[in-house]
């Protein structure tokens, strides 16, 4: 093989390696879209926030989530397991960020969860909504599914129907949305740990290490 061929092939391979390296960097930057978000949680946790775990837990995760988001549905079992196994170490605050342009039923689902919260069943409805996401996500009339879920959770159906039409609950959801927008959040789920934005951990073990392993 002559010198010219070696140089040509060398340049070709090097070019491909540089291209792959550039793509890897591009992938890391665009994934999470969190480069547009402020790295600090702007809206502090208040008594009106929904949370699981002990109020006195040393660590707090604030999750901005969308009930129609498949990624949130696949992630919620990890969060649930964390609060079940470490209730005194961490509390998890749930805040609504329905991506309305993508998910038409997400805001009604958020309001349904708030209505369930009025009867003390916010997180039961939260779990049920994620567990049945496939059933109502593309439904033209998801409200009926939400009423069925409320019934299956032992709620007062009449009260639930009234509450979903309560403008106060819609306002609560919209307040969360407004917080997320001000924080520059571009997707779901987005997590803040002790007020700082974090990359969503890839596994339960990573999540535990990040939260409980934190000194």
């Amino acid at each position: 093989m002559n010198k010219k061929r070696i140089v040509t092939w060398g340049a070709f391979i090097l070019g491909l390696v540089i291209l792959l390296f550039g793509l890897a960097k591009l992938g890391a930057k665009s994934s999470g879209n969190i480069t547009t978000a402020s790295s600090t949680l702007l809206a502090p946790v208040t008594d009106s926030d929904w949370f699981k775990g002990s109020a006195k837990a040393p660590h707090t995760i604030v999750e901005y989530s969308d009930f129609q988001c498949p990624a949130c549905a696949s992630y919620y079992p990890l969060i649930k397991r964390l609060t079940d196994e470490y209730p005194n170490e961490v509390r998890v605050v749930y805040r609504h960020f329905p991506l309305e342009e993508l998910h038409k039923n997400a805001k009604p689902a958020a309001i349904a969860a708030e209505a369930a919260g009025k009867q003390g069943k916010f997180f039961e409805m939260h779990d049920a909504l994620f567990n049945t996401q496939d059933q109502w996500a593309k439904d033209g009339n998801p409200e009926l599914t939400f009423e069925d879920l409320a019934g299956s959770l032992g709620m007062n159906g009449k009260q639930f129907k009234e509450d979903v039409n309560n403008p106060e609950l819609k306002k609560r959801v919209e307040e969360n949305i407004s917080q997320a927008v001000q924080n520059g959040i571009g997707g779901t789920p987005t997590l803040f740990l002790d007020g700082k934005l974090i990359q969503t951990p890839n596994s339960y073990e990573e999540l535990v290490q990040l939260v409980v392993g934190k000194k």
Partner: protein, 157 residues
Amino acid sequence: MKNWFNWLLEKNNLPQWLLITGFVLALIGFADAGYLSMKYLSGEKPKCFITTGCDAVTSSIYSKIGPFPVASLGFIFYTTLLVLFFLSLESKETKWAKYALIITPLGFLFTVYFLYIQAFVLNAFCIYCLFSAGSSTALFGLAMFHWIKNKFWLNLT
């Protein structure tokens, strides 16, 4: 069958424009599949974005064939084509590019299958998957153009 295969490799030299086009299309596929492979291998959890939607396709069960991520299989496919086209351009022996053209139907078949999955099973599309579909279809189109132009059916016996 053997005659036809020999004909595919020996006769009908490929024009330069075809080699360059094939190289460019393979490079696009290489970059696209490389990007998807890297995202998959980084193991990052999928997210839904306001701007680009949810990662429903790339995180579905259809994103793997057995233990192999589809993105990585695509990457191997495009790398093979890229090297073959480059080899022909560099050595001026068009037989390497002819090998590349012979394997384009494989990429096209997978493209049709994955487009079906996205359209009718997942009801969701992934933009990078569509770019790859475009490259592999164009590469197959290139092969078909060359074979039809040179009346490959006359050499089927």
